[in-house]
């Protein structure tokens, strides 16, 4: 049983116990105020969990972007030295794809579990086609942009060109900046 469910059940049990066995007045049909208060607290917890989820996904994106930025620099530095940067470029492509996908396949599995449990961070946004199911920050349009960019970058791995890679990375950086600004 989940922790939240435990807390909720415990609160209800305590309320029932503290309410005693007194028979309420016939005119008193309101929901017991203690239950309303508990529900109010629980709502805070639920809403806070959603905010926590947003913060976590935001951190995943920021971390992945930071990793990608470092990889882009490493790849460009290697190319400037005339060294083979194929591995770095493919790693960069993978990281850019992960930004578009709000994480790797492991994160996707968690997202799937949340959807299966009925949790949609942007239910209305999903219905409007703005977000893919379960996505928290990356919109469908942004996702496509990052995925297209990742493929463009990956194609450079076998015949890299420093200027082209820098241009592609600058595009990703701009896309991420736009996403970041739009997310707040």
């Amino acid at each position: 049983m989940h922790k939240l469910e435990w807390i909720c059940r415990l609160a209800i049990v305590l309320l029932v116990c503290t309410a005693g066995v007194a028979v309420p007045a016939a005119s008193d049909t309101a929901t017991p105020p203690q239950l309303v208060e508990t529900y109010d607290s629980l709502a805070d917890t639920i809403l806070a969990a959603k905010k926590t989820e947003w913060n976590l996904v935001h951190t995943i994106l920021a971390t992945t972007y930071g990793h990608a930025e470092g990889m882009a620099k490493a790849a460009l530095a290697k190319l400037d030295r005339g060294a083979d940067a194929g591995s770095e470029i493919e790693a960069l492509a993978a990281l850019v794809a992960q930004i578009g996908n709000e994480g790797d396949a492991g994160v996707a599995a968690i997202r799937k579990r949340l959807i299966e449990g009925g949790h949609h961070h942007h239910a209305s946004g999903e219905q409007q086609g703005i977000y893919d199911p379960g996505f928290v920050i990356v919109t469908r349009d942004a996702k496509k942009q990052f995925l297209d960019s990742s493929k463009s970058i990956a194609r450079m791995a076998k015949s890299p060109d420093s200027a082209a890679l820098k241009s592609a990375w600058d595009k990703v950086a701009q896309e991420f900046k736009t996403l970041h600004e739009g997310a707040h």
Partner: protein, 547 residues
């Protein structure tokens, strides 16, 4: 090298002008065993998952035989009948003999799913892997017309909801390793107790899933020699991190670097493209190779896979069949491991949108020099028939899309004869030239019915079939690729493992050659990288190539 001309007698000819003509001859040919599929209402997804079919020449007599996997019949939570798989021996006269009992390949009472065929123990005879809901069965071909189940000894029973499988030499060591996809983590009790509780379009209750049910993880087994396998999923970089609802698996050299990659169609999840990095280590590159999602970045409900060169540019392309009210996706390859979704521009997307598609095939069915596309269709919810307002149906027609030679497809199902006019809930699809007349016939499985054997009576052009004669000690045949140069055209085919929907195509490689009367060059690239070249060959023959 041995050459021999095959007989070319044809059946009834189609109307003049029609490019395709298929006739179902399953009943008269003796393919009569019903494929059982759970409950009539399809209360669980397993009830409607269906089974695969395989063509193989188990007795090495030059006539391909048919193997059909079977499921169970249920009544509520009661098992009414455990279906038996069927092995039909090709008599060579257009009919088949049911040799299941004699061969000992009935399925061991398990609820069957898919089939893969390969000579896993390198004794020269094709063996049969049956993937099950339950422990897998590996039928080792003894070479005398009988088989024995060696799955436990081989270490690949791996109980679960196993689906697609592919044998491949992943590490280049000369033996066949094995990838097995899995679908959902469910027990038999859960299947038996299933109730239709998922709301469908607000009008009916249907089987739950796959969302809402836990995904199972795919597995990879490395061949240790001596008929034994060892699970090496993580070691090979094949961890199914997304716990995708896996169905079809196909091994192929998608990036043209000489080794076998693995493609997995996942239902409702991103598809996987595991690129072989050499030495038996893979890297999942689906997202940034353009093969995981559709052009809009959305995951689809992958069921089946076909791989071939749809536009005759020398690069392999991928077709993935998907759920109803979503198109089958054609990913056009650039030969370098990158793909673009061309479903909208190739003509494939629009015509496949209404259907729920499973088996998939890229093959030259009219022998005109390009690969046409066949998809096997059928819905999973019988309940849709009660709601005609949605213009869907449980039983659906399979579809044949003709290739114009450039990768542009047109739906010609209406012009393809009575065999393609059948309306059923189809699943498995395997192509093979069972009558050795130079064109490919189609074996199709359906839910709760016997299979169809669609004899190809199309008035096609010239053809070539390639048979491989390789001593087992010289390595596996799976992964061999053949390139033909015919005038200005270059045609490629690969000896695959996996693909379609849980099914296996003819082990021979088939080429349609149109009006050509000579083949300028036939080049074989063997899995170990060595090559064999033959020049100036006549058409309309089955040719055996030795390594």
């Amino acid at each position: 090298m041995i050459l021999f001309l095959a007989g070319c007698e044809r059946g009834p000819q189609p109307d003049p002008g029609a490019a395709f003509h298929f006739v179902d001859v399953a009943a008269e040919a003796g393919l009569d065993r019903v494929v059982l599929a759970g409950r009539p209402g399809k209360d669980h997804l397993l009830d409607s998952a269906g089974t695969g079919a395989a063509w193989l020449d188990y007795d090495q007599d030059g006539w391909i035989d048919a193997y059909i996997v079977n499921g169970w019949k249920l009544d509520g939570d009661r098992v009414v009948e455990r279906g038996r798989n069927a092995l039909y021996r090709n008599r060579g006269d257009g009919t088949f003999e049911d040799v299941t009992d004699r061969a000992g390949v009935g399925g061991e009472g398990h609820w069957g799913g898919g089939v893969a065929v390969a000579d896993y123990d390198a004794d020269g005879f094709p063996d049969i892997l049956v993937t099950n809901f339950g422990p897998n069965v590996l039928y080792r071909n003894r070479g005398d017309g009988t088989f024995e189940n060696t799955a436990a000894e081989a270490g690949i029973e791996s109980p679960g909801w196993n689906t697609g499988a592919a044998f491949l030499d992943a590490d280049g060591d000369g033996d066949l390793d094995l990838y097995i996809a899995t679908y959902i983590d469910q027990s038999t009790d859960e299947v038996l107790a299933a109730e239709r509780t998922l709301d469908w379009k607000g009008v009916d209750k249907v089987a739950v899933g796959p969302f809402g049910l836990p995904g199972a993880v795919d597995k990879f087994f490395v061949n240790e020699g001596g008929g034994r396998y060892r699970e090496a999923t993580s070691e090979a970089g094949l961890d199914d991190l997304g716990e995708g609802f896996g169905f079809a698996v196909r091994a192929a050299d998608l990036d043209r670097d000489g080794d076998q990659d693995i493609y997995v169609a996942n239902d409702s999840d991103a598809n996987y493209f595991y690129r072989n990095e050499g030495g038996g280590v893979f890297r999942e590159v689906g997202l940034w190779s353009g093969t995981a999602l559709d052009a809009n970045g959305a995951a689809q409900a992958g069921m089946g896979v076909a791989i071939g060169d749809a536009d005759n540019d020398g690069a392999l392309d991928i077709v993935v069949t998907n759920f109803s009210e979503d198109f089958s996706t054609m990913y056009r390859g650039d030969g370098d491991g990158f793909f673009d979704d061309v479903s909208a521009t190739s003509g494939v997307g629009k015509v496949t949108y209404p259907s729920l598609s499973w088996g998939a095939l890229l093959a030259d069915l009219d022998n005109d020099g390009d690969q046409d596309l066949v998809v096997a269709n059928g819905h999973i919810y019988p309940q849709v028939d009660a709601h005609p307002e949605f213009e869907l149906s449980y039983a659906q027609r399979n579809q044949l899309l003709e290739n114009d030679g450039t990768g542009q497809f047109t739906d010609v199902t209406d012009l393809a004869g009575p065999g393609m006019a059948q309306v059923r809930s189809s699943r498995g699809l395997a192509a093979g030239d069972y009558d050795n007349d130079g064109d490919l016939d189609l074996l199709v499985t359906h839910l709760d019915e016997p299979p169809s054997l669609l004899r190809n009576d199309s008035p096609g052009g010239a053809w070539l079939e390639v048979v491989f004669d390789v001593p087992p000690e010289d390595g596996p045949i799976v992964g061999t690729e053949v390139t033909l140069r015919v005038g200005e055209r270059t045609l490629i085919r690969d000896r695959s493992s996996g693909g379609s929907f849980l099914s296996v195509h003819d082990p021979r490689l088939h080429f349609g050659l149109g009006s050509a009367d000579r083949i300028d060059l036939l080049e074989v690239r063997w899995p170990d990288g060595s090559r064999t070249e033959l020049t100036d060959l006549p058409v309309n023959q089955s040719i055996t190539v030795s390594k």
